[in-house]
């Protein structure tokens, strides 16, 4: 089992540390992130703004801003360490082997260039296609991402498209290089729910068809449940819990995950919401110990002193909280969350 897993790992992030120089001081945005991506699976990274999730994928794509530095760590892909590549070498990876979909489709597209030409450009650059072949392929891609009336749409400009259609164009461009990894950075946050549902379906469909591996960044747990095989929960630059979707949603172990899961109402919620008090920490001087401790009502004394290691719960499920230490008092997840999980399980059974 473990042997097979290792062979299937396509991208591996190891103990990544990224910091930013700013006016106020050094911001330690990512602090020792480790995760891997296996062939054909979707890994979600969930976290609030400032948790370091976007910085992590920017580091993978080699598009960190100039005031950022990778302090340490490795990003292993295809026998290379992506943190050590030059800009020149990255051109062979970015867009060709790893595709990226941004949050805001409008700013990802050139406003004064026809969308068809933008897809063609991506094809010509990455696949060295002839113009004619590229045009043909661009039309196919547009059809594949569900754009109707492609011949006419090919010659239109981004402003003539709706938000959802623009995001489809961005996906088509990301697919132009025929990548094996697709990174989605909050691709549906700016979209309406009905459009979001369609885009998520599309991403799932092309993932199946092309056997893609997907890294999906979002703060929306509903989206995570729809997309992810495995989930990494990030807080203050660290992964605090990682596991399969079922494990993280039904047997969460970290108090932050508890709070995250029960802080948003679902359609059946009536009880008072379990809110997380306080505000996310300032990453210029992150608190010692567990960064979540100051907002955690189950904080132990040691949380303020020593960083918790990732405790292994099952082969796939890990959480960084001292509550998992054998000497720690038994703390159950909040009652509201328990009833909600119970309800979700029942629904799942009812649906079958």
């Amino acid at each position: 089992m473990a042997e097979r897993d290792k062979r299937d790992v396509i991208l591996q992030v190891k103990d990544l540390n990224v910091s930013f120089r700013t006016y106020g001081g050094i911001v330690r945005a990512v602090r020792g992130v480790t995760f891997d991506l296996r062939r054909g699976e979707t890994v979600a990274i969930v976290g609030e703004s400032g948790s370091g999730k976007s910085v992590t994928i920017k580091a993978i794509m080699g598009i960190l801003p100039s005031n950022a530095t990778i302090e340490s760590g490795e990003i292993l892909y295809g026998g290379m360490d992506l943190t050590k590549l030059t800009e020149e070498e990255f051109h062979n990876i970015r867009g060709k082997r790893i595709g990226l979909i941004f949050q805001d489709p409008l700013s990802a597209l050139n406003p004064i260039m026809k969308v068809g030409n933008q897809i063609m450009e991506a094809l010509i650059l990455s696949q060295k296609m002839s113009k004619k072949a590229a045009r043909q392929r661009a039309l196919e891609l547009m059809e594949a991402v569900g754009i109707p009336d492609v011949e006419r749409r090919f010659n239109q400009y981004p402003f003539q498209f709706s938000g959802g259609m623009r995001q489809r164009i961005v996906i088509a461009i990301a697919l132009a290089g025929d990548p094996e990894i697709l990174i989605c950075d909050e691709p549906t946050t700016a979209l309406d729910v009905t459009v979001q549902a369609r885009i998520l379906e599309l991403i799932n469909k092309i993932k199946e068809e092309r056997h893609l591996s997907v890294i999906f960044i979002t703060h929306d747990l509903g989206v995570v449940a729809t997309m992810a095989d495995r989930v990494n929960v990030m807080y203050a630059g660290k992964i605090v819990e990682t596991g399969t979707s079922e494990e993280v949603f039904f047997e969460p172990a970290h108090p932050y995950t508890w709070a995250l899961l029960s802080s948003m109402p679902d359609l059946e919620t009536k009880e008072r919401l379990f809110s997380i008090p306080g505000t996310p920490p300032n990453m210029i001087s992150p608190p010692p110990g567990d960064a979540f401790s100051v907002r955690n009502r189950y904080a132990l004394r040691i949380d303020f002193e020593k960083e918790p290691p990732l405790f292994k719960i099952t082969d796939t499920h890990y959480a960084a909280t001292w509550l998992l230490h054998p000497k720690a008092p038994r703390v159950e997840m909040p009652e509201a969350l328990k009833t909600r999980i119970e309800r979700m399980r029942r629904r799942a059974v009812g649906n079958e």
């Binding site: 979001q196 995570v224 949603f249 359609l267 979700m344 799942a348 649906n351």
Partner: protein, 321 residues
């Protein structure tokens, strides 16, 4: 004139935006013939997707925009007529607004005390100590403290800023609050804080709230009754439970089916419904209007659709038995 069971009543309200002149004239019907009422101490949720006119509707009620036609009554008094100084005073004393963007909605050049105290100043409170006392009292109510009063907005986090916005709206003790997407720009962990706070304040002050949002789960959680908007029109109005248990209008059904459920076991197999007005309605012979299908459950539909919807409700009741 107006139905006294409602605190706020909107009747056939239209707000059109025009641009261009002559041949190029373009009319956008942001709010088109919308009617509904909000009862005292009730929370009325307004959902819809971006561009459906829900923000415009809220702003037209509080007269940030002038209505193109139609009427709005507050406590029996028309507030949609010609704007006079007296009406402006009446409006500002009774209705306050909470805005979406916690960064945008606070003047960066003013201190928190100036921001929150402004409403009092406008009402002629001149005594500085009195303003200070009431600002601090309000700050405490929203979970901040006295020390925050001298600070500028940029020093606060998003959730704190939104709480300042709430304090600003509530210090003038309005009867009604229009909350325009008050949590959608906030982080997940902060949204719950603000929702809980709004809930507490609603109880404490006996507020009537018009809650505008695009997140259906939040609206469902927070509201007693809900109106669904689609392209400037209200297509369905019902009590929260009814709307989610038996959505009738095809757009409401599509909207509900699109919510991503935070449940990995069901989320992927969820059946999504599409809504296409051209395909789903045939209004060539019959004209649609707001019809009360069941008590307090209104749908915008044609007579034949109404008959069908009634049938659906009846069979739902039977299935329930």
């Amino acid at each position: 004139m107006s139905d006294s069971t409602y605190l706020l009543e909107v009747k056939n309200l239209c707000r059109h935006f025009t641009s261009g002149r002559g041949k190029n004239k373009l009319v956008v019907k942001a709010v088109d013939n919308v009617s509904f009422g909000v009862k005292p101490a009730e929370t009325f949720g307004l959902v819809g997707e971006s561009g459906c006119g829900k923000t415009t509707l809220g702003r037209t009620i509080i007269r940030l925009y002038d209505p193109t036609s139609g009427q709005v009554f507050f406590n029996g008094r028309e507030i949609s007529g010609k704007m006079t100084g007296e009406l402006r005073r009446y409006l500002t004393e009774n209705i306050a607004m909470i805005f979406q963007d916690p960064i945008e909605s606070l003047n960066p050049r003013m201190t928190v005390e100036e921001i929150i105290g402004e409403g009092l100043k406008v009402r002629g409170v001149k005594d500085k100590a009195e303003i200070r006392r009431r600002v601090v009292e309000m700050l405490k109510k929203v979970g901040l403290n006295e020390e925050h009063a001298t600070r500028y907005p940029h020093e606060f986090s998003g959730g704190q800023r939104q709480r300042i916005g709430i304090a600003r709206a509530l210090i003038v003790q309005p009867k009604m609050i229009i909350a325009d997407e008050p949590v959608s720009a906030l982080d997940v962990s902060i949204q719950a804080q603000v929702i809980n706070l709004l809930n507490d304040l609603k109880e404490e002050f006996g507020l009537t709230i018009l809650f505008i949002a695009h997140n259906l789960s939040v609206v469902k959680y927070f509201s007693d009754r809900i109106g669904v908007m689609y392209y400037g029109r209200l297509v369905e109005v019902a009590r929260g439970e009814d709307l989610y248990a038996k959505p009738l209008h095809p757009y409401t059904r599509a909207l509900l089916s699109a919510i991503p459920e935070p449940n990995p076991l069901t989320a992927r197999n969820k059946k999504r419904l599409d809504y296409d007005p051209e395909r789903d309605h045939d209004y060539s012979r019959e004209k649609p209007e707001m019809v009360e299908i069941e008590p307090e459950h209104f749908v915008y539909c044609s007579p034949s659709e109404a008959a069908r919807y009634r049938e659906i409700c009846r069979s739902a009741v039977k299935a329930g038995d």
